[in-house]
């Protein structure tokens, strides 16, 4: 069992006071805080090993290249992407990873009459690229719907899939409602039909054990910054047989094999998809973040996540006038809870909480169509992680009650 209060000691940001108060950070679904070891690894890299990768024959460059390749192996191992089946491509983040698959695979292969299926739960990053693909290729975009509890309606999902379906993309765990989708079950049924599958794992990989090879999808993406790692690093696992058919995403240095003035032969994957200098210092430090999580154990991280989810639901439910969106129970759900409080606009509420040192996300959470489906334009979202404990949720609950009386008095 993880102890959030103890883990917090590894994260220097929690020494920070916000308007004289202790920091209550409940916005990890947007980006996580960083432990000392990751901050130190980044700093140490710049102090001791800094040089561009895959370029020089000198010691520094070789060290730098070694660290990048070591992280490539490490992250594949962390998320269970068997290197015999998957390439590990470094990108800037989940958004770029999905755009890469959209550009380098879907735009090249889909046409009028073809269909793409995604879900109503998607973040804009896993929605807008497919809208663009549909628009440019003439393909049809279909949405699998969610039920009133914010869970995927699997019957409806598979009703959307037919002989014309060429690609299915879905979120492993929702950034708005916390819903965990049954990725393996979905993918295995689609694999039988030879459909390309893409999974947005931005919330799942940081919070639960993920075994990409076991899921068996064609592509799986996530970001380092939501799992203790530095910003600017994302990972895309690509099934080899798919990657080998894909055209490059961007062109330039690092992705070529041989260039002449009139022609270019491209490098093999994964380098084929990694044009330009990668964020090699951040990638090196990401390996330290992975080690930190491995030491905690991802089973324990998930257990803590579910404990926090259940405490959040139980505590918030006791507040009169608070409406929770998403699964009402802690089964297959992360500690990401979106809610509305009375008629207090989320923007007003978010600012009130900020004055109590409590960081939450307010707004549409980059999921405007989902907000519309839920019948709102903005919600307040609290998300917990390894460094949170019950006390944070108690402080949130007490601040929410204060907000009710403040706004009742002020706004009526």
């Amino acid at each position: 069992m993880l102890d959030g209060r103890k883990i917090r000691e590894d994260f220097p940001i929690f020494q920070r006071k916000i308007r004289g108060r202790d920091l209550v950070f409940l916005d990890t679904a947007a980006s996580s805080q960083k432990p000392n070891c990751v901050i130190d690894a980044l700093s140490q890299f710049y102090r001791e090993s800094n040089a561009n990768v895959h370029r020089g024959l000198y010691v520094l460059s070789m060290e730098s290249t070694h660290k990048l390749e070591q992280t490539r192996t490490h992250v594949a191992d962390f998320a269970g992407a068997n290197p015999d089946e998957y390439y590990t491509v470094f990108v800037r983040g989940t958004t770029e990873a999905i755009n890469l698959v959209a550009s380098s695979h879907a735009l090249q292969n889909l046409g009028a009459g073809d269909e793409i299926v995604i879900t109503e739960l998607e973040h804009h990053a896993n929605l807008v690229p497919w809208q663009m693909v549909a628009k440019q290729t003439g393909a049809t975009l279909r949405y699998a719907r969610i039920d009133d509890d914010g869970r995927l309606d699997l019957d409806h999902f598979f009703d959307q899939v037919n002989d014309k379906t060429r690609l299915v993309s879905f979120v492993h765990a929702s950034n708005v409602l916390g819903t965990i989708n049954p990725a393996k079950e979905i993918v295995s049924r689609l694999n039988e039909r030879g459909i390309v599958t893409m999974i947005d794992g931005a919330q799942a990989v940081p919070t639960m054990p993920v075994d990409v090879s076991d899921i068996g999808c064609s592509a799986y993406a996530f970001s380092a910054h939501k799992m203790l790692g530095p910003t600017g690093v994302g990972v895309l696992f690509l099934k080899k047989e798919l990657a080998d058919t894909m055209v490059p995403y961007q062109f330039g240095g690092g992705m070529i094999f041989k260039v002449k003035y009139d022609t270019t032969r491209f490098a093999e994957p994964p380098e084929r998809f990694e044009a330009g200098t990668p964020a090699f210092a951040e990638i090196a430090a990401f390996s330290t973040a992975l080690s930190y999580l491995e030491e905690l154990g991802m089973d324990n991280v998930l257990q803590h996540e579910q404990k926090m989810a259940s405490y959040m639901l139980e505590t918030l439910r006791q507040i009169d006038g608070l409406k929770i969106y998403g699964p009402p129970d802690d089964q297959d759900r992360l500690a990401i809870v979106s809610f509305e409080l009375d008629n207090i606009h989320a923007h007003d509420l978010g600012m009130f909480l900020d004055f109590q040192g409590i960081c939450v996300r307010v707004g549409h959470h980059c999921a405007q169509p989902l907000m519309e489906k839920l019948g709102t334009t903005s919600t307040t979202r609290a998300s917990a992680y390894i460094y949170n404990c019950e006390e944070d949720i108690d402080l949130l609950a007490s601040a929410l009650k204060d907000a009710q009386s403040y706004f009742l008095r002020t706004l009526g």
Binding site: I18, H345, H347, M351, F355, G363, S378
Partner: protein, 160 residues
């Protein structure tokens, strides 16, 4: 509830939720439908989801390139600051010419800059200057005014 921040940066929520601002948010002026409109514009803040409907009816007094606004409807679905701002904008629309309103919008933008603004011309709307101490909320105050700006740009493009 209020705690001290860093020296010199202390702000209180009560500076944001001033009585007059809250009063306008609770009883917004100008949201009543006006019937037929010559100009209609949706306003939207993608950062927070605040929405706004602006409808304007133009008067026919011969000055076609700079008409007077005969009737205005400003309907805000958003936070306290955005609702109050819409309500405080409304009196500046009705009975004013487009060029006059444009000058006031420019003034309004200045409210949030260090350079200062002609607060007298803005009348009661100048109370929104207190939002300047809350940078995250400036866009909420600006939305109604920028929507009018966008509406005039679109109108001018369509009629030129």
């Amino acid at each position: 509830m209020h705690r001290e921040g860093q020296p010199g940066t202390e702000v209180h929520l009560s500076q944001l939720y001033r009585d007059a601002i809250v009063h306008h948010a609770r009883n917004p002026a100008g949201s009543m439908p006006i019937g037929a409109a010559d100009i209609q514009q949706d306003g939207y803040n993608p950062k927070c989801g605040d929405e706004l409907l602006l409808r304007l009816r133009l008067g026919a007094d011969g000055k076609e390139d700079d008409p007077v606004i005969e009737a205005a409807q400003v309907e805000v679905h958003g936070c306290t600051i955005c609702r109050a701002s819409g309500s405080l904008l409304w009196p500046h629309l009705k009975g004013s010419r487009i060029s006059e309103i444009q000058a006031k919008i420019a003034n309004f933008h200045e409210l949030f800059k260090a350079t200062g603004s002609d607060t007298e011309a803005l009348g009661e709307a100048a109370i929104l200057q207190s939002v300047a101490a809350f940078p995250a909320r400036i866009d909420c105050a600006l939305l109604p005014w920028s929507t009018v700006e966008a509406a005039f740009r679109a109108w001018s493009k369509a009629t030129s």
